[in-house]
Symmetry: C2
Subunit: 408 residues, 2 copies
């Protein structure tokens, strides 16, 4: 677990609308059977915006529209999201539909349409039921902080079993700043963003181009370090808004408290990433792999991601089997160069491999440890001081069941 720095405080609850000037809402417009499927996030004033998008060659229509919007002034004031239908592989009509969602939201709120971001998640290849969405947009009411936050965080879910929320506050000089986040994602989760949506709000006043750097930095170390099944989707996106309403002295890369802000943002993204990994389709456990002693931090992250993504490691954890060989083997095929004869591996606190060879350990103790809900695997190398972590989940019968019949 990452220790919370004394100057950064965690806020409990569901709080995407907690930072100053934010409102949220969610309702059922009829794309799904019963659950909420349309959400709106709104800032009283235009907010500096940054986005990180799927690297998939196939990008869904709403991603194209949102990227274009942010390019114009680097600002967003609202985000409209639907779940149940991804508006991906839907051609020209798909683009029109995304633009219509954007336009109608802008009209309702009385703001320029390029201040509205659009996101969709769900089944791909089917056209949006745009009339239902239009009617839904009309019905959306910006609720109070708690109800709005709850409804919005629910409205973006698909196969998720829980909504995913976190928030932290910190002081920049004498001003309190809040960063809050909500995310969805369960299957198709992999490095480089996969059927994952993340929304982060902050009332920080922050230099616009540095906001983008900060988000990229945080996403690389968190969302891009989670994997459920190695599949990367067409619709992934993390959007961050910072509306400046905390009235702090402008944050930028040279500000003495920039690192503190970055730490808080990483904490928000890490919490959401771990919540997604833990809620992986069919998952029964969260797995965290920590790699130290690599040549670089990036090398360490690559090894960590490879180990946590190995189906054989995942099934071994599911079966509570202390199969250190699979951990060692996955590290070996990560593509990163290291000396296997100096490798150490721990499962929980139990050392299982030293200098590349197994050492005696209590099978029973490790088996009991593996029955827990959060499994830590540590890989220690002797190449340098690079470190990195990655998160995933076990591979279970339920994963197969969920995905053998998703569409039908």
């Amino acid at each position: 677990m990452q220790a919370v720095k004394p100057s950064i405080h965690k806020i409990t609850g569901i709080n995407i609308a907690t930072p100053k000037g934010y409102y949220a809402s969610g309702l059922h417009c009829g794309i799904k059977h019963k659950k909420l499927d349309l959400g709106l996030l709104y800032s009283l004033v235009p907010a500096d915006a940054a986005g990180v998008y799927t690297t998939n060659r196939v990008q869904a229509a709403p991603l194209k529209v949102t990227q274009e919007n942010i390019k114009q002034e680097g600002k967003l004031q609202a985000i409209i999201v639907n779940s149940g239908n991804a508006n991906a592989c839907t051609g020209k009509k798909g683009l029109q539909d995304a633009k219509q969602m954007q336009l109608e939201t802008a009209q309702k709120l009385g703001i320029p349409s390029h201040f509205v971001g659009v996101a969709s998640t769900g089944v791909i290849g089917e056209h949006l039921p745009i009339e239902k969405i239009s009617a839904g947009i009309k019905d959306l009411v910006l609720d109070d902080e708690i109800k709005g936050s709850i409804d919005f965080s629910q409205s973006i879910l698909t196969t998720d079993t829980v909504s995913k929320n976190t928030a932290y506050t910190l002081k920049i000089k004498d001003k309190d700043i809040t960063i809050a986040g909500t995310a969805k994602g369960s299957g198709m989760i992999h490095p480089n963003m996969a059927t994952m949506l993340g929304f982060i709000t902050s009332d920080a006043n922050i230099n616009q181009s540095d906001l983008h750097s900060a988000l990229s930095y945080a996403v690389d170390r968190t969302f891009n370090c989670i994997t459920v099944d190695g599949d990367t989707s067409t619709n992934d996106m993390v959007l961050m808004l910072a509306n400046g309403m905390a009235e702090n002295e402008e944050l930028n890369k040279n500000h003495p408290e920039w690192e503190l802000f970055l730490d808080a943002l990483v904490m928000v993204c890490e919490d959401l990433g771990k919540l997604i990994a833990k809620d992986g389709e069919g998952a029964s456990k969260l797995i965290e792999v920590n790699v130290e002693g690599a040549l670089t931090d990036k090398d360490a992250r690559v090894i960590a991601k490879t180990v946590v993504g190995s189906p054989l490691v995942k099934t071994a954890v599911f079966g509570c089997d202390a199969n250190w060989g699979r951990i060692l083997c996955a590290a070996g095929y990560s593509g990163v160069s290291f000396d296997p004869d100096q490798m150490r591996i721990l499962i929980g606190d139990s050392e299982v491999v030293v200098d590349g060879e197994p050492v005696p350990f209590s099978e029973e103790e490790v088996r009991n440890y593996l029955k827990g809900q959060e499994i830590h695997i540590t890989v220690l190398l002797s190449e340098g001081i690079g470190s990195g972590r990655a998160w995933g989940c076990d591979l279970t019968y339920d994963y197969v069941q969920i995905n053998a019949s998703y569409r039908t």
Copy 2:
């Protein structure tokens, strides 16, 4: 299916010892409970040898020993293989054990020890029961062609449910040449060789350095295009022997019938690769993905491998779900650049995506097709004339079951 050229003929049966001058044998020496676990392949005369090895940073002791051997004169005359224990992550004692296997086999056969290749497969991190193996080596008897071939092909198996064999003959000028192969592999199968052993024998007379090129060419297009679960092991190896006893005019890259020889070798490797994919742990179906119209053959193979390796595609095929979106999505994250708006996808003969968008198709027809045992998926691009194929299997409950409890 690759059409067999009129000048190349398939030989049925189990025939690793069929090419002129080869003998094989297998027995139970006690590493496993009951099944055969020690095999020997022998050529009457030293054979030109080529090997392709795992790319995993962690290489098992027998691979190190075998590579060293082949480096000396480029020749092998015998291969000793055990299953049930991989002799991987076993440190200095592991290397000693591999060398002892080699030496005792050489002494038994009266040949130089660097003419003996060594291979092991099975559990990793445990020392070989070397006394059992030593006793087994003494007991090995080079049997007649059929019994020897059957026993050897059985002795190399681990979680495989069937032994995997193929052979082809072709004429080079007026001489008949035979190429035969046997392989093992079921779990941990992925591009770049994964707990897979392949042994290919031929009586061809072939230029030694061109033999290596030929094997690499064939392996790249076959063994390296199969995936079961994305895990790459410490012990993979394909070894080929060519002893020249067919007395053909020496084959080399400039020989007019070089291509024919290459075709036959690819057929041997492709047959074995497909047999491995079909026997993937828990698999109920073989999946073949064929990509055409990519910029290069390599691009096409990368896309094909990514699609056939996607857990979501694999579970959809298991569930007989015509989920074209997952195919399109996997192609999109393959890392290969292409225009998704010109992409076509077929499941069997049914066109499901044209110009990047779904088209109406009979769900019932495709569902019935997906109930078959061999599933063909075709991805057509408009980037060039590159084509490539890859093979894999569906992801089933049985995969999870097998791997949640392998070690225990």
